[in-house]
Amino acid sequence: MTTPLPAADHLHRRLVDFVGVVRDRGVSVGVGAEVDLARALEVLPEVHRGHFRDASVAVLAKSPEEARVVLQAFDDFFDAGPRRPGLPFTGQQSRASSAPTTLGRAGRTPKPDETDAPTGTTVFGSYSPDAPGAGHPLTPVPARELLDLRRGARRFRRRTATLPGRRRVRSRRGSVDALATVRRALGRGGEFVELVREAPRPGRAEFVILWDVSGSMREHDAELFALVYSLERVSRSARVFAFSTRVEEVTEEIRRNGYERATRAVATRLAAEAGGTRIGPCLQEFSDRFPGVLGDRSTLVVVSDGWDLAEPTALGEALRRLQRRSHRVVWVSPYARRPGFAPRTAGLVAALPFTDELLGPEDFRSQYPLRPIETEARTVPSAS
């Protein structure tokens, strides 16, 4: 069935309204894509609802997750009529509640003045009126501490870099690149005056970070977020996922903002996240929803204390599968460097056999040597 759409002169205004709704729901749509959609509607011989819908997805979405958001936004928009000023879309939802909950990328980040948070401290739960009243503070750490963590993160990156790749780069001491030497000679009238050398380029570390934001981690939120932020910043292709009872990607909130803005953006994004942890089901959800994220070069960093309300065997099983798909698995526990620490939480005990390294946040500070904590539980070989 096809639903007639408004006349062409009205169509562009509807299109702009519709794109506004898509942006409100977290999909990053540039003006170029908006123009492309208008052009797409012009080249269609007849514009009915089905065509408009398919064209919107083809032009505006850049991932399957975004495609789902665009489709839902389209259906809501054309079922509900035009957007009214002052209301996000249908007039029935607040902007907070229409914000994306499962979108993988480019979530729209409310500006700092849209939150009621006091300066310097952002409170989870202050953004959405539907979110639990009690939030947890996410306070930026001092700049010196952040820089220290950043240095530790760089050291960690060098240490976890994968083996040298097949790609070769110029080097003073490597082997002679015959073709490049000939090419260089051509520029000198065919005379071989110097040899061009090359060496394998070291592989990059690719981080995938799973960050536990449940209630038991509240007192460590500030420090661990600074660590997560640092790890994201030192890797070109890191992905960050926060989890408690579900998984939310927060990469864009971190990537697009400086530290303090990222702190506010992430706190806002995780406004409704509170309560217990279901690590195993969350790891499984991560595995199902983001199947292409992990690869041979990925280092999976799980930042969690291991308090798990779900069945621990589910955690072990899920982590085993993730370990199989990644280069290595590193678990960062806020208690790992405390005196007398031993892995006692059921989640951590279940996870350690499938973890290559156990570290504490202190290991990322410059004064500490970065060395994994030895535990008896880590007896299973890392590679399957």
């Binding site: 064209a55 991932s63 097949r166 690719e206």
Partner: protein, 301 residues
Amino acid sequence: MHRMVADSDHWTTPEAVKQALAEQHYLADPALSMSVYLAAQLSKPLLLEGEPGCGKTELAKAVAAATRAELIRLQCFEGLDARSALYDWNFPKQMLTIRLHEHESGSRDSLEKEIFTERFLLRRPLLRALEESGPARPVLLIDEIDRADEEFEGLLLEVLSDFQVTIPELGTIRARRPPFVVITSNRSRDLSDALKRRCLYSFVDYPTADREVEILRARVPHVGEQLARDVVAFVQHLRGEKELVKRPGVAETIDWASALLALHRDSLDPAVVEQTLGCLLKDAGDVELARDRGLVHTVGA
């Protein structure tokens, strides 16, 4: 009835695209037909993402066949660079010319001008696609771009947005008409936003069972209805196993059905599934898992 024309420029509706592709035994859903139609009309590259074996590369082949255009394929790999993708200079020929020049009179300037002309230029797939002058728009397939380095995406930006290439010694070469560009990715890594912005996007997912039966019967015409349904039911069951490292795609379904026909089978039983499991599962761990869980014995269940 939609008018059938050879060139993708002249596709009149998304439905015409669907029909033209169907004639090449490629069954596209409405969303994919729309993406192909818009890519042709707007001269934008079409980025296809999805699991391996779901028909991304086949789409480019089907478009080329439907439009009777030349298919120019660039297979991406780690370390792919401008010399392999765009152009290179014929160094041996240049060296020979320099040596010959040493025995002749002539200025050094004229020699330099001579050896950096089109005569010494080796055209790689991207440049060939821009210079192609056949009757139909060429189809440029940039396959598995996620295997290439991120730097290579930067190289593609000029080619894909302006359909031109700048060669310092020769100047800027512009396409007489933009090729129909299909870029595929298996999502082993994220592509850059800059590249995605220049493309129309379509995600090619595993088909539904009914759709897969249609595809199978279109691609393997001799397979019977019942065998096709049994094959598809088993493959869909395998795809439900989330622990598999590599789930079978449509390509594997087609290969398996072809293998069964070659074995003169018109029905499935556990023994033949066991013997031909290698057509579907390409990882030793997956085969072991399928055996351990008795998946082979679910045939016909």
